[in-house]
């Protein structure tokens, strides 16, 4: 089994682009600001191109590199596999890693299909019997404002939840001349806005409310079905050539559903909301209070307490940078805001803490599968005249 060798936790990462950079930063930074119960080591990174992966190892701070992710599974100095590749590769790598006795941190969405996700959950269940654990990277859960939101709901400050209202709005595809990339190809990405960003708001709303979606009706759309093929990439953008190719995923998704506690829920995910850059907007109304969050102002949570006298009640703008707030004491004084990558560092902190304690880290693969089932139901609804799909 992969249990930490003494106090050491060797990490092997697969993939090293956008997500790989974010994860590397987290592995480098977590032990500098937090007291981790295990001594993490950035043992190796794997990628197919030998020169590129070696350069990435050097740049991102990994001690070595491998050109085949299977090599990471064979190494004794590696206890955990951190999967940062596109969704079509998650199932194979994760199942193999878990079966090889390595803990796994897998980027979201868990997989490109429910079937794959189910295999991964099965593998995680097998592994758990040997003290090997799996976690899916719904990183936004570790934004302090989101953690505070969860606490407020858990503490009953919202009462009975009646409305969930969630949107994930971006605009980087709004320009029809933005070139194709793998996120627009079904074979690699599985789905488009729905799986890439909609998955986050499905998970976040389930996490914050502690409830599950029990059914959905949805609608998908591809506004720009054909785009220039990029000749060179840089992050999400690239240099467009003269050729064009088909977009095979959704550009946007709109759906509503019912939460297990009875709340009405509405969702939207799009990359066509001009002017909205990374607006993860979540609003929850309960019988005793309400919450509102927007990632474009990520250090703030708005909270309305309906038990206050009407004359002085109002949404409070809580700047979530106090020492009393989750994760914050390790960082800076009040008002010195955190950024996007801090949530990755917090994810490492919680993951390492759970492994050291021999506990299942959250979100589990089962939670990842639950999200996958929602995405799948939305797709089925959208392709069948928006009919209602029950979720078990």
């Amino acid at each position: 089994m992969a249990a930490a060798d003494g106090a050491r936790l060797g990490v092997g990462m697969v993939g090293y682009s956008f997500m790989g950079a974010a994860h590397s930063h987290a592995w480098r930074t977590a032990p500098r600001f937090f007291d981790l119960p295990l001594r993490t080591e950035m043992t190796a990174v794997a990628g197919r191109d030998p020169e590129k992966v070696a350069a990435a190892a050097d740049r991102l701070g990994w001690q070595s590199s491998e050109t085949d992710w299977r090599r990471l599974l064979e190494r004794d100095d590696i206890d955990l596999i951190d999967i940062c590749t596109p969704g079509n590769t998650h199932a194979e790598i994760a199942v193999a890693a878990l079966d090889a006795g390595k803990h796994v941190l897998c980027e979201k969405p868990l997989a490109n299909s429910v079937a794959e996700a189910e295999q991964m959950v099965a593998a995680a269940d097998r592994a758990a019997q040997h003290g090997v654990h799996a976690m899916v990277g719904f990183t936004y859960r570790r934004v302090p404002a989101i953690q505070l939101a969860r606490q407020l709901v858990a503490d009953g400050r919202l009462g009975q939840i009646r409305h969930v209202r969630a949107q994930y709005l971006q605009d980087w595809l709004s320009d029809a001349s933005t070139p194709l990339n793998w996120r627009l190809q079904k074979d690699k990405a599985g789905s488009g806005a729905l799986g890439d960003i909609g998955a986050h708001v499905v998970d976040l709303t389930q996490f914050i409310t502690g409830e599950r979606l029990t059914g959905v009706s949805g609608m998908l759309e591809t506004f720009v079905p054909e785009r220039p093929v990029a000749t060179e990439f840089s992050g999400l953008s690239g240099t467009a050539g003269t050729e064009t190719g088909p977009v095979t995923v959704d550009d946007a998704a709109v759906f509503f559903g019912r939460m297990s506690g009875g709340a009405m829920a509405s969702y939207e995910a799009t990359r066509y909301a001009n002017g909205r850059k990374n607006a993860i907007r979540i609003e929850i109304n309960g019988s005793a209070g309400s919450l509102a969050f927007d990632f474009e102002d990520m250090n703030v949570l708005h909270f309305f307490d309906a038990t206050e006298p009407p004359a002085t009640a109002g949404f409070r703008r809580i700047v979530v940078t106090e020492a009393e707030h989750p994760f914050v004491a390790a960082w800076w004084p009040p008002g010195h805001g955190l950024g996007y990558e801090h949530a990755f560092t917090h994810q490492v902190v919680d993951l390492v803490g759970a492994l050291a304690a021999g506990e299942e880290p959250a979100p589990s693969f089962a939670e990842g599968l639950a999200v996958q089932r929602v995405l799948d139901a939305v797709e089925r609804s959208a392709s069948d005249k928006h009919r209602w799909i029950d979720l078990a």
Copy 2:
């Protein structure tokens, strides 16, 4: 026919509570700030209780009162009937008034059913042949920021519309001890949040985009099915007794749809959004720009122009109080904001202007019927497993 006798326009109003007060203020105020082409007179108000209606006439500024609205139709000094009663009475009064040759301004929603609304449109069509006109009171259209939104879309500043996102959020029913009132009774109100406030956002989004909803899927909910019966009323609230009675309308509605130009649209209407008082929130994303509005900050329109260089692009907070903005020049200097009732005054201005010009005022009864059909489709979808309903 009802055409203005000389330059005079005699008005008879039916009903004198919340809406009646707002309309009266508008009739009193419009000629003080605007140059109206007709000399409006507040000739009479009708209500059933002789003492109460006389007191209302005195307080609200009407020259006389009647205890039967039919009397207004018989009077020669009345050219226009302003209907401010609950929705179940609209059809009878409006049809009779139009057939009697009186212009009609009818509060929204146009009627409590599609069938009634169709009768009203038929009556409006008949009347129009004699120069008698009808208008439905979707008053929020006349908020200057909404007018500016319409202009920007009409001028092409948003390009092709891709997303419509609309919510009408209130919280006055969030407290389960708030007593029953006629707005919670199907026979009087027709529907609940859907017809009372959802109707506004359906109309506003169709008005701003210049498009129509072509189909919807929806969900309704009644969170608190039984409420105390009020023994006395005051505005929307009242004094609760010990008896309870059933709420026979929806408390909240969530639905999505497709606009005639291809945009995806999502809607929500609720009186259970704790902390949101009158949040009419509309956001529209197009290929060339975006708009965002919230009635809780009603003098502001947010506009994103996607044709600007990325380094300086951003949602502009336009304070819609410049002389260049619709209706504003008649009021105060820049930054001296308008309030809720100004839209009613603007409605009178446009209505009187259209009548003087012999033109059909907008929104017409046909536009009111179009909204009614959307509401009806949402109800049918909600009662049939949220299935998609096509709108002709």
Copy 3:
């Protein structure tokens, strides 16, 4: 004496432009929404040009007109003089009116000099002995959010006041081609931004805190010393001719001071803050809490309660439209915001209430004088190397 003849209060107004229109609206509207203890009548308006004043009477709703304000003082059917003329005329009219036994409502600033203001206070003191009262029109005090701010301070919710931070920002002179008007001429206006808008924030901060400024240091500036002479006016703007003339007042004022309770206070008033239309921004920090207000979002007050646990403390955005809020119950349901002119209506309500009760209305002329002394001290400081000026 001018005491109400039975239950009637006849009003005579002097001046009928921007302020006159606002006051007229208030006299027309107050009895429609509030139960006034006196039956107000809009008896007469005075102005020099017979045709213009007659047209104004007709448009604004006055029963008659006079071409000399002295005639209003002679009329038995007039009990109160409402002074809406430029500041250089206030002292003469107010003193004469009070001495003639008429109540007075005088627009701010009380006068163009401390000496004049002192004469007015003396006249008010004389009149008070005969039950005749005077009030100065610091109208913004009657914005509900400002009233709530005052209540919170009075209730001790802010503790000891430590900081007062006030700005009144406009931008209508930012464009150097905007023509001259009387507000830019010292003989008529007395001072510029300082007296016109700075006066408001001086009064508001003294009102909200219940404290007085005990000394100031200040700086004035005229950015555009020469402007085109307008050939025709319309509100604050006009049509520029080719001639130019000197601006003889300040364009902007910056000053700091000390409150009687020990707080530090900083002020700014300018008509050159591009993009700020009527931003009356007041922020107060106390040992137990803080307040923030911006007139550009006039229906909102932000309140921070420092006694709350740090994890959930935050500025509350109170939408001041609840029935529990000052003046609001007479208007609309929650969230249906009020506008600029409502404060004028509230001013009438309080004035009439005080007169009926035989009480001194607030703000008194003495309070107006206190503001005048602050403005005077700022001017003296600014003209003498910004030295500190003690206020008795």
Copy 4:
């Protein structure tokens, strides 16, 4: 001289608490996200306590530790001294380091007195003749939104600057039971809110406008003159004992001044603004436009372009996370906000870039001295009846 040995730059840091942690993170992180022209090495950290400094070296990522900062100056493998100690030690260390041929990065404020700062500038001038450079750590300059603000002014988008309005508001001393720490002791900190946080807004406004303050009038206050002595510290807070001790610095500062281009400027710095956590608020009004910034929403810059038509003009909320924005391309996609510590990383990037190019990094010690002179003038004004102090 200290010029980079080949491509290597050895860094020695003095001090390792709050600022030391932030600087260490920057030295660790800069080479991971940016292509630095020199190979930076975190060679050694110095502190008095051997065990603590060794632990800090381990935790913060320094290769070795020293118990005397003078040892850093003697080491050949160290090219740059990074000074993160309280202000009373800056002059001695910086002068010695520069004279020893080491580049210096010195935290702000440059020194605790003008005299010390002048010595430091003299040392920097001497060193510059040998290619040895000095920089003062006004880190907030490297927040992308601040960089964009500077660009907009430099590009003429604001026209002639007329108003500068700057506040630095915190609230961590608002509670009178918060214990004493070195920041409240004049011998260590030099001054209180004025030097600690006021210094930042003085520098930022001079940086953004490209102008200098030419004179000031000011007021200082110590609201809580006696505080409990802390028995143990943790960041800015600590555990209070029963003893108390005197606060020997200002709690808050308010001042106004004149910019070299003629603008009026007002400033405030306080640690008593309840509810404001780290509100660095800067607003600049020019003849062609305006800017507004608040560090509590640090990834946003508000920009008003007065050349736009009035009907569509408004403050733009620019989310400063586009690849086109300064420093951003190295980080994450649009909307994935940065945090407080990123500015430190950007500071390292610019410092290393300047050193590699043989250029003077900015802000220079001379710029630090300029700020020091302003602070000194404010103190002199405050202690002499708030009189105006000219700055050369």
